[in-house]
Symmetry: C2
Subunit: 230 residues, 2 copies
């Protein structure tokens, strides 16, 4: 079923059907915990996420810390020359990606204006999203940050699931993302549950009971642009 699912990047080629593009793009199934860099090699690469969730780890400093998430439909590019200090892109869950090597991508972007516009657009959108995240994690109250995180993740899933979704991240990793200790994350999640805003059917499963109320606690509204670039 995955083999025929088009990714954003590939979809932008339908009208033209460039041969070099189809040759360049390779579909990969990524194991949980596997780094995309290990698949792509040391060179720069660019990928479109079909299914699963990826995380961006800042590899500088020990231990490495997660600084961002990538959801299906987003594009993730890793230009090794522009980011020498290093971020690694790792699969949080088993994921399916559409991977392109750097040289292939350059050739294609030369010839296809639509692709490079998509890439640039994706980069801008990811940047805007990252800046919104900065607003979240610069808030003093842990409650607001956790609520904002939940609202953000919930926004990635269709509402048809009865507003129930999987967090995919451990408490510790959520803490890294929000600048909180894992204990504080756990406490705040349960506090939101006690407040009746969410329910916790499982350890990593969350059901939204009061979406707007949760948004009010978060103190902001989220929009999710389609792009994501590391």
């Amino acid at each position: 079923m995955f083999e025929n699912m088009p990714c954003d990047l590939c979809a932008s080629f339908q009208p033209e059907n460039g041969d070099e593009w189809r040759d360049a793009a390779r579909r990969y199934a990524v194991r949980r915990g596997q780094a995309i860099g290990d698949i792509a090699g040391t060179d720069s690469w660019c990928a479109s996420l079909a299914t699963g969730i990826l995380r961006i780890d800042a590899s500088q400093g020990a231990p490495p810390r997660t600084v961002g998430l990538i959801f299906p439909g987003q594009i993730v590019a890793h230009p090794s020359d522009a980011d020498p200090c290093g971020t690694a892109v790792v699969a949080v869950t088993r994921s399916d990606i559409c991977l392109h090597a750097r040289d292939d991508l350059r050739q294609v972007t030369e010839r296809h204006p639509g692709v490079r516009r998509l890439l640039l657009r994706s980069a801008f959108q990811t940047l805007a999203e990252t800046r919104r995240w900065m607003l979240v994690i610069s808030r003093p109250r842990a409650r607001e940050r956790v609520a904002a995180f939940l609202v953000s993740v919930a926004g990635r899933f269709p509402t048809s699931d009865h507003d129930t979704f999987d967090l995919a991240l451990s408490r510790g990793r959520i803490g890294e993302l929000l600048g909180l200790s894992l204990e504080t994350v756990s406490r705040q999640i349960h506090a939101l549950a006690k407040a009746g805003l969410i329910a916790l059917p499982g350890r990593r499963h969350v059901k939204l009971l009061n979406r707007s109320g949760l948004g009010a606690v978060a103190g902001m509204t989220f929009r999710h642009p389609s792009g994501a670039v590391a």
Copy 2:
């Protein structure tokens, strides 16, 4: 003296000297506090900063908060379609920018591969830099954040000034950037001075006495890529 100073974007045109580029680029002097958007109009735009410092304000929510800074040599692009919720780019100090309207830029990027590579590169680098900032402001200790801020700003200035530089930002705005109250910023700056790591010749002037020591307090090393995109 400013009129002839080349910006990164313009410099990438020297070999080709495209006419349409020279026509599209306009040099502007921006007053302190003035928004670039007011100059460029409602459309998307792209600018290269020659002198001065700009700040990126997240205009969503009241009051607007500063989420990033732009230093000379960086490119700042504002794609209005990709960022509908809104960030405004405002001059912190009097600045000189090289401004391009969106339509002109699109034409130029179609014809000049170097320019679009520069833009994409700039976007990636700014994204990487923003993610490093997230690492800074997610740190629990205010001391580390303030130290990191000082190291970062200091890195923008040549070391020949005896390591003395102007902060350009008020305590309050530094606090917004770091997710701290203005009082905490003030206290931490003075604490760093008492610790002998910096000196404070003036209210907004800082002299680095122990650069590596400050970096140690900050807990990380900074590199400054040349790109910046809003």
